[in-house]
């Protein structure tokens, strides 16, 4: 169930080194972007939709420039990015801590399991209005939403990985006099890291979706709010600016995450095969 995200290494060419490899890599990244832009331009020109509902890419680019120059775009992106990172960080700390305990301590696992198995498959966005009532209209309710979307993949991946750590490693550490807490932090955590990071990548996308959706539904600032305002004031090009930007933020964060992951897992088979 903890499904693998797209392994970045699947395109064989990407593993090639040197200038030829770099060119192939650039092409592989550029190709979907070019595809989307060409299709967008073609559909916009075909007259299937009006320039109001589907402005051509050039028009959206102009709006993006204008919004960048008056500073609104940078403000909105900074607010949203800050919320994404905060909710992902909190989810990482909470998910890994609770996950290690649930994976290794039977009493903790039995106590929390019913609650976790109930909450995991439920659509967390349904509680967003309740979160706004609880935390108010500001940043707290957006971070809570991002956290709720991010924490469960991380938690479940950590539980699964922590419970599968080789018992011999734990025994050796215990035999050498390491305390239970020390074993958890110095033996179980590193051994479970590949699994944890797989869940964390899913959680990162959850944090991005959660924060953006929360801003779209009820907010006073951020990229999602910018999009909602564009919708209400019929400034359709602004909406496309917001969507393109959140997609770009998602893509860049995902790439950065893969880089960090490759660095952290350089020692393991997962690290050298992937990322």
């Amino acid at each position: 169930m903890v499904a693998r995200p797209v392994p970045a290494s699947l395109v064989d060419a990407r593993r090639r080194r040197g200038p030829a490899g770099a060119a192939v890599k650039a092409f592989v990244y550029a190709y979907p972007v070019v595809l989307v832009l060409v299709a967008w331009e073609a559909v916009a020109r075909s007259g299937l939709f009006t320039a109001f509902t589907l402005p051509p890419p050039g028009r959206v680019w102009e709006r993006a420039r204008a919004m960048w120059d008056d500073g609104t775009l940078l403000d909105a992106s900074t607010v949203t990015l800050g919320r994404i990172l905060l909710s992902f960080g909190l989810a990482l700390v909470a998910g890994v801590t609770l996950g290690l305990l649930m994976g290794r301590v039977r009493a903790v696992r039995l106590m929390f399991r019913p609650v976790v198995s109930f909450l995991f498959p439920t659509p967390k966005v349904a509680i967003y209005p309740a979160l706004v009532i609880l935390f108010g209209l500001g940043t707290a309710s957006k971070v809570a939403m991002g956290f709720a979307e991010a924490v469960f993949p991380i938690l479940l991946a950590t539980i699964a990985a922590a419970s599968r750590v080789e018992p011999r490693m734990v025994w050796s550490a215990a035999g050498l006099g390491t305390s239970r807490a020390g074993i958890l932090v110095r033996v179980v955590l590193p051994a479970a890291l590949p699994g944890i990071l797989t869940g964390a990548r899913i959680g990162l996308v959850g944090a991005i979706s959660g924060v953006f959706v929360a801003e779209l539904i009820v907010a006073a600032d951020g990229l999602g709010h910018a999009m909602a305002i564009g919708y209400r004031t019929l400034a359709t090009a602004d909406m496309y600016v917001a969507v393109v930007l959140i997609c770009a933020i998602g893509f860049v964060l995902d790439r950065l995450f893969l880089l960090v992951r490759a660095r952290l897992l350089a020692w393991s088979p997962e690290g050298s095969a992937d990322g």
């Binding site: 349904a126 209005p129 009532i133």
Partner: protein
């Protein structure tokens, strides 16, 4: 996975003693929910005590308006979900067996993986209106990536000699795909479908909260706008239970329908 998230050793010891900690965990949570508003730790107007929400859940369930919104949401979700399975499974399987298709589709998948699909909701409303079409497309988009990836991995991991034997015995390319590769990839595909169920309900709820015209999400938001906190909490609890039940029913159905399936779904 959700029904057995720990998945580790030593979880399945029976007896009444083993039931105690899980019950204690749930009881503790509900107790905090009940007591915190009553002691004034949180405002009862923003978080009503559990017992009051429980009473209100009855009112939500017997509300005919809620019933018809559920039916509408379920119809749109079912349509989108079925379309995603019909497109996603063949696409993933063909990707695993054909280099050309793989090289064409894979960069697009990698690129769209971190994109929040629900962010496209309002754009789809612009293009296709606020009706059924936009919502069905959102569900399809949300489901597609987990299903395609799972089918791709599943079909890619099929033992080559299975395929060779089938071809050697005179099976055609398409016959081999449908009769050998597809069944062998089924366990992974079913896991992907389970992921897709969760993701797509999130997407549909989010879309309905944004579009606010019809559906369960819109029902929830109407009461938020009215400031009826109790109804908001009760409706959220019902939606959460629906998500949980859907997942549990899916796992149960797969286990019953395919008893030979091993491991987690």
């Amino acid at each position: 996975m959700a029904t057995e998230p720990a998945g580790g050793a030593g979880t399945a010891r029976g007896g009444p003693a083993a039931l105690l900690p899980p019950a204690a965990g749930v009881a503790l949570l509900l107790l905090v929910w009940e007591v915190a508003p009553r002691l004034g730790l949180v405002r009862p107007t923003s978080v009503p005590p559990f017992s009051e929400v429980l009473g209100e859940i009855g009112a939500v369930l017997t509300d005919p308006a809620f019933g018809s919104e559920v039916a509408g949401s379920a119809y749109r979700w079912g349509l989108g979900f079925a379309l995603a399975v019909l497109i996603g499974v063949p696409l993933g399987v063909v990707m695993a067996r054909s280099r050309l298709v793989r090289h064409a589709v894979e960069p697009v998948l990698t690129m769209s993986y971190p994109v929040p699909k629900v962010a496209l909701t309002l754009i789809l409303v612009l293009l296709f209106g606020a009706g059924t079409t936009s919502r069905v497309i959102i569900v399809v988009l949300a489901c597609l990536i987990p299903i395609v990836i799972a089918s791709f991995h599943g079909a890619g991991a099929v033992e080559p000699w299975l395929v060779w034997s089938a071809r050697g015995l005179g099976g055609g390319r398409i016959g081999t795909l449908a009769r050998v590769v597809l069944p062998a990839a089924l366990p992974q595909i079913l896991s992907g479908v389970r992921m897709a169920i969760g993701v797509s309900i999130f997407a549909l709820m989010a879309a309905e909260l944004m579009i606010r015209q019809s559906g369960i999400g819109a029902y929830l938001f109407t009461y938020y706008d009215h400031g009826d906190t109790l109804r908001v909490w009760a409706t959220a609890a019902v939606i959460a239970a629906i998500g949980f039940l859907l997942d549990a029913v899916y796992v149960r159905a797969v286990r019953r329908g395919l008893p030979w399936l091993e491991g987690e779904i």
